[in-house]
């Protein structure tokens, strides 16, 4: 039991970060993490030690987040990527560097599924296999979401048309 709790404890900062990046609200994020930890502890018997505990926790957190989101939104709010209104912003003054505020704004505009995937892989450092498992999608789907997320981010941060940089000389 204490090993289990130790492992959970070690995962808490990353869970908080993921929840915060998704919700952009510290209290809401911590509420989700608390729910997630309670569920994990109550359902300890359902955890298969063959799967990484962290991925299991992320999956539970994500389900709670989606549920929460659903109850906050009216139905019909999911817009497929192709129809998503993307407003290109102006290119940053210094090409090649991304302003954090710009990226922060762009993340808000990403489609939910793309944001969930991108944060898991890039920020939380999950392997493609674990991320696909957490999101309950095939790896191919995950990769196409990541590809679309990256393309959308480039448009949203105004770096899609930035001059091609020279590769390493």
């Amino acid at each position: 039991m204490s090993d289990f709790l130790d492992e959970i404890e070690a995962a808490v900062p990353a869970l908080r970060r993921y929840a915060r990046a998704l919700t952009r609200d510290i209290d809401r994020a911590d509420d989700l993490v608390q729910d997630c930890l309670e569920r994990a502890i109550r359902k300890r018997a359902l955890w298969r030690p063959t799967a990484p505990l962290q991925a299991w926790l992320f999956r539970m957190l994500l389900n709670l987040y989606r549920n929460d989101l659903r109850s906050r939104r009216r139905r019909g709010d999911h817009v497929p990527y192709d129809e998503m209104p993307i407003e290109p912003s102006t290119p940053p003054a210094q090409p090649g560097r991304l302003a954090l505020a710009e990226v922060d704004r762009a993340m808000v505009q990403l489609a939910d599924d793309q944001r969930e995937a991108l944060l898991l892989v890039v920020v939380e450092g999950q392997s493609y296999a674990d991320a696909a498992n957490i999101l309950e999608i095939p790896i191919g789907t995950l990769m196409s979401r990541l590809g679309r997320a990256r393309a959308a981010l480039r448009v949203l941060t105004g770096t899609a048309d930035e001059p091609r940089l020279r590769s390493v000389k």
Binding site: M1, L5, I8, E9, V12, P13, A14, R16, R17, R20, A21, D30, V33, Q34, D35, L37, E38, I41, R42, K43, R44, A45, L46, N63, L64, N67, D68, R70, S71, R75, G96, R97, L98, L100, V103, D104, M107, L118, L119, V121, V122, V123, G125, S127, Y128, E136, M143, L146, G147, R150, L153, R154, T157, T159, E162, R164, L165, R166, S167, V168
Partner: protein
């Protein structure tokens, strides 16, 4: 966009480049990609842009990791609270019949509002209750396939739901099968279609049974739910979920639900749990 038109042993595609940027490649693969990028400056520019995205995202969210964790997120504290609770799910096998009386409908909704318990079972119960309320009022169109064509009904629903569904015999409980229909899965459960079976007694009081294939091990084993005079009994095993809905007196409702439970929730593979 067609990377890798040259037939080299290590083919670099868009997916390879994404995996490179996301640190998913082995050292050997990384080296091969880096060599390849030297000859493909346009792709190297894409990779550079993605790497800047990664750097920006990591920087953006890094400070959260350094924050002190609030005490309410201490797993030991939570565990102490959980073990003091009235029930312990960890001891309940997936198909165990543990009656959990939620109490009033208001109680149920408060639970969902405060701790977002068990989304799959909630949604299934909602779906079952809505479908019940909609179709029990119908006289001529209560079912799609009537009980006089029971063999077809059972085959059809089993095929569409994806699991053998025998229509339980509730004669002993005083109910005859009226028939059944196929329903779309409750919204956003990601599940397959549902089957609804309808029964009625001599006074034309109806109960419905709502069946889907199993949720992903995330459901409550057994839940009783009441709302506006309707009672729903939900349970799940590793193969199906089943919700019985009706507005019978509680004792009678329990008898009916028990009859359905005994006939539907078989476990051909009892291994793996003890």
């Amino acid at each position: 966009m067609n990377a890798g038109e040259d037939k080299r042993p290590f083919e670099v595609t868009e997916a390879t480049l994404l995996a490179y940027v996301d640190g998913q490649l082995s050292p050997g693969e990384r080296a091969a990609v880096e060599t390849w990028l030297l000859e493909h400056p346009d792709k190297a520019a894409d990779v550079g842009a993605w790497q800047r995205q990664n750097a920006a995202l990591s920087t953006l969210y890094a400070p959260i990791l350094a924050e002190p964790v609030p005490p309410r997120l201490d797993p030991r504290r939570i565990a102490a609270g959980v073990s003091g609770a009235r029930w312990d799910w960890t001891r309940v096998a997936a198909a165990a019949v543990v009656l959990l009386a939620i109490g009033s409908g208001a109680g149920w909704f408060m639970r969902t509002a405060t701790w977002q318990e068990e989304p799959a079972s909630e949604r299934l119960i909602d779906g079952a209750v809505s479908a019940h309320a909609l179709y029990v009022k119908e006289t001529r169109h209560a079912v799609e396939v009537a009980a006089d064509d029971k063999a077809h009904l059972v085959t059809w629903l089993s095929n569409r739901v994806g699991h053998p569904i025998g229509a339980p015999d509730l004669t002993a409980q005083g109910f005859q099968l009226v028939g059944g229909r196929l329903l779309p899965p409750p919204a956003e459960t990601g599940m397959g279609p549902a089957a609804q079976l309808m029964y009625q007694d001599g006074a034309s009081t109806r109960v419905t049974v709502f069946i889907t294939t199993a949720a992903d091990g995330d459901g409550k084993p057994y839940v009783k739910y009441q709302d506006h005079g309707l009672e729903a009994y939900y349970w799940a095993n590793d193969q199906i979920t089943c919700t019985v809905v009706g507005d019978l007196p509680e004792a009678q409702m329990q008898t009916v639900a028990k009859g359905v439970y005994q006939q539907l929730t078989w476990r051909p593979d009892p291994g793996g749990r003890s």
